[in-house]
Amino acid sequence: MSSTIGSEPLDAHSEAFLHEAAASKFDFHSVSVKAAGDERLKTAINNAVLKQYTARQLRLLDLPDADRLRTLAGDIKQHALDYLDYYLVQLQQNVRKNGGHLHFACSGDEAKQIILDIAKNANCKSVIKSKSMVSEEIELVHTFEANGINVVETDLGEFIIQIGKDKPSHLVAPIVHKDRQSCGRLFSEYFGTPYTDDPQALTMQARKHMRDRFRTADMGMTGGNFLVAETGQVCVVENEGNARHSVTSPRVLVSLVGIEKVVPRLVDLAVMLKLLARSATGQPFTVYTNIFGGPRKPGQKDGPEEFHIVLLDNGRSEILAGEYRETLRCIRCGACLNACPVYRKIGGHAYGSVYPGPIGALITPLFQGLGNFKDLPQASSLCGACYEACPVKINIPQHLINMRRDIVNSHLNGFLERAIYRLWAWSLKSPLLYKLGSIMQKWELRRRAKKTGWVKKMPMVGSGWTQIRDMPAPARKTFHQMWAKRDHRN
C-alpha cells in the first residue's frame, strides 16, 4: 500500500477526476491510470463492492432457480421494450384515471422546464428529493438551485454528495469513494458542529436536519424503479425512508422516470423485486417498497394533493431503435459494477459519467455519443462477470464487442492503429511478405532480448505493450521451420 497518500482524505482526487471527466474531450486513459494508482481508494472500493457482491451470491441461493428467474425478468423487460408504445399509452391512460398528470419530455432540458413549471404553478418553494439516477443524468438539483427553489437531497449518501458538491460514484452506494473522515469534515463544516466521524452520530445529525424539511416541504421528488402500465403506478424501493417522506408529506409529488422503466403488470413486480435487492446489496428485500400513483383521496390527510409523472426520453428512443435495445432492460442494481474487475480497480468517477461500470461503459457512449467516450467500451477485460451478475441478463460483453466494431467502422480509432492493422492484413495475404515479416520481427526481438532473454522495451506503438509487461525472446527457429525438418519416422 502506498504510504505517500496516507494522510490525504480518501476522496482527495475526486475533484480532479470530476474536472477531467467534465472536460470536453474525456481522456479515460489518464483518469483511470490515476484512479488505479490510488491504493487507498482502490482498497475502499474493493471492500465495499466485494461485501455487496458476496452478499448477492449468498442471497441468490434463496431462489429456486435464480438463473431461470433472471431469464424471466429479462424477458419481461424485453417484452415491455418491444411493445413500449403500447405500454406507454396504457400507463398514460391509467395515470389520468387515477387523477394524476403524465408528461413526456424529449430531452433533459425539456424535463427540467416541465418540473420547474409544475413547481412554479403550485407555488413550491422547497423540495425534498430522494435518490434517482435519472435526476443525476439531467442534473436536476442545479436547475432547482439556479431558480431559487430550495432543494435538499434526502438520501444520506446523496446529501453528502450535495453538500460536498461531489458526484455519485456507484449506482446504489453513491459515496463509496468517501471515508468517514471526509464525511465527518463535511458535516462539521456544513452544520458548524464539533467534528465526529462516527457513522451513527453522523446519521443522527442528518436525521435531525431532515425532519423539519420533511414536515415543511412543498414538493416531493422521486425517481422510479418501475412503472406499472396496468395500474398507472410508480414503484420506488429504498432503505432509509426518505422516499416515503417524499410521497407522504408534501402537497405536490413529481416522479421523474425514464421511459424504459415500464413493466406491463403489477405481478411483474414480484419477479423484479425478488431479484433487485438481492442483486444490488444482497438484501432479500429493501426496507421500504413504495407503490403509488395519483393524488390523495377525499378525507386523506397524507399523500400529495397533486401528482405528476415526468417520462424522460433523452436518447432512449434512439437506443430502442438500434441493436442495443437490450441495454434498456437495466434496472440500475449495480451488480455489474460490483462484479467488474475494472470497476473494482478504478471506481466510478473514472468513467466520466453518472452511469459507471460495465453498463455505464455501454450506455454512456449511447447517451452522449461514441466520439466523446470511445475509450469506455475498451474498459473491459470481456471476462463476462457482468453478464453473469445481471438480473435481467443484458449481454454486456457482447454489446461491448459490437461497440468496438462501431468504433472501427466509424474510424474513431486512431490513424496509426488503422494503418498498422491494414499493413498486417496486407502481409497476411501474401506468404512471401508474411515470411519476410516474421524473419525481420524475430531478428529484431532476439536482438532486443540478447542480454536478459526478455524483451523489455519496444519502440513506438510497441512501447504500450512493454510498459507493463516483459516478453520472452522468440525461439531461434519458427514453428514452420521446425515442422519442415521434423522426423518423418512416426
Binding site: 411493445y83 403500447y86 395500474t231 416515503r244 403489477l266
Partner: protein, 218 residues
C-alpha cells in the same frame, strides 16, 4: 403537435410501427415454480415471524387477551408516552385508544390530529392490510382511516397483525393488490429504517422509525 405525441412518435418509429398498436400484446407468463418461494398456506404466521425477525423487527405472538399487557410493557420499556393510532376497525374492536388513555398514556386517533402534529408523537400504532410471509413485509394500503404517515413519522412503530392478514408469496400479494378496488398508494415495510452509506456501516433509524414492534394475534 403536443409533446406527448413527439416521444410516443419517436418510440413508435424506433419499433418500426406507423400507428398505435391496437391489439394488446401478451407479456411472458409468470412461471410459478421458478418465481414462487412460498408454496403453502400452512404456517404463514410462523414463517412471517422468522423473516420479520431476520429483517430486525421484534415479533411477539400473543393471544388477544395478552395483547394489551404486552403493548403497555413495550411502550413503557421504550419511554413512549404520546401515541397515535390509525382509525382501523381492528384497533377499535380491541378498544386500544380508550384503554391506553385510561392507563395514563396520551393516545390519539389519526382522525383527531394533523399531519404536522404527528411529528410530536413518540409512537404510531397501526394494523396492516396484508403481511407477506415470504419477505416478512407489512403491507399498508393508504386510506383516510389509515394514513401511512402514522407508520413513518414517529420514531417507533407498533403493528398489530391478525391471522387473516397473511399471504404466502409476493406473487400472491401483487395478485391481491391488483384485484383490490381502485389502486391506492401501498407501502411495504420490511424492517426499521436503515442506511449503510458511510463506509458500509449499518446504522438503524435514519428517516423512518428506528424500531418496529409486531404483535401477531393468535
Amino acid at each position: 403537435m403536443s409533446e406527448s405525441d413527439t416521444v410516443l412518435d419517436r418510440v413508435r418509429r424506433a419499433l418500426g410501427r406507423t400507428g398505435p398498436l391496437l391489439k394488446p400484446p401478451t407479456p411472458p407468463a409468470i412461471d410459478e415454480p421458478i418465481t414462487r418461494l412460498v408454496h403453502t398456506d400452512i404456517g404463514l404466521p410462523e414463517l412471517f415471524a422468522r423473516r420479520a425477525e431476520e429483517m430486525k423487527m421484534h415479533v411477539d405472538a400473543v393471544h388477544p387477551e395478552e395483547l394489551f399487557g404486552g403493548l403497555v410493557e413495550f411502550l413503557k420499556a421504550n419511554a413512549c408516552h404520546s401515541l397515535v393510532l390509525t382509525d382501523s376497525p381492528l384497533l377499535e374492536r380491541l378498544r386500544l385508544a380508550e384503554q391506553l388513555n385510561a392507563k395514563g398514556f396520551e393516545a390519539r386517533r389519526w382522525s383527531e390530529i394533523t399531519l404536522d402534529g404527528l411529528y410530536q408523537f413518540d409512537c404510531g400504532i397501526t394494523d396492516v392490510t396484508y403481511a407477506a410471509a415470504e419477505t416478512g413485509s407489512l403491507v399498508i394500503r393508504s386510506s383516510a382511516a389509515h394514513g401511512p404517515a402514522v407508520s413513518l413519522v414517529p420514531p417507533i412503530h407498533v403493528a398489530i397483525l391478525e391471522p387473516k392478514n397473511f399471504l404466502p408469496d409476493l406473487v400472491d400479494l401483487f395478485e391481491r393488490l391488483k384485484t383490490d378496488a381502485d389502486p391506492a398508494s401501498v407501502v411495504m415495510i420490511t424492517g426499521p429504517s436503515k442506511t449503510s452509506d458511510i463506509e458500509m456501516n449499518l446504522v438503524v433509524g435514519v428517516h423512518g422509525p428506528c424500531k418496529v414492534q409486531l404483535f401477531i394475534l393468535q
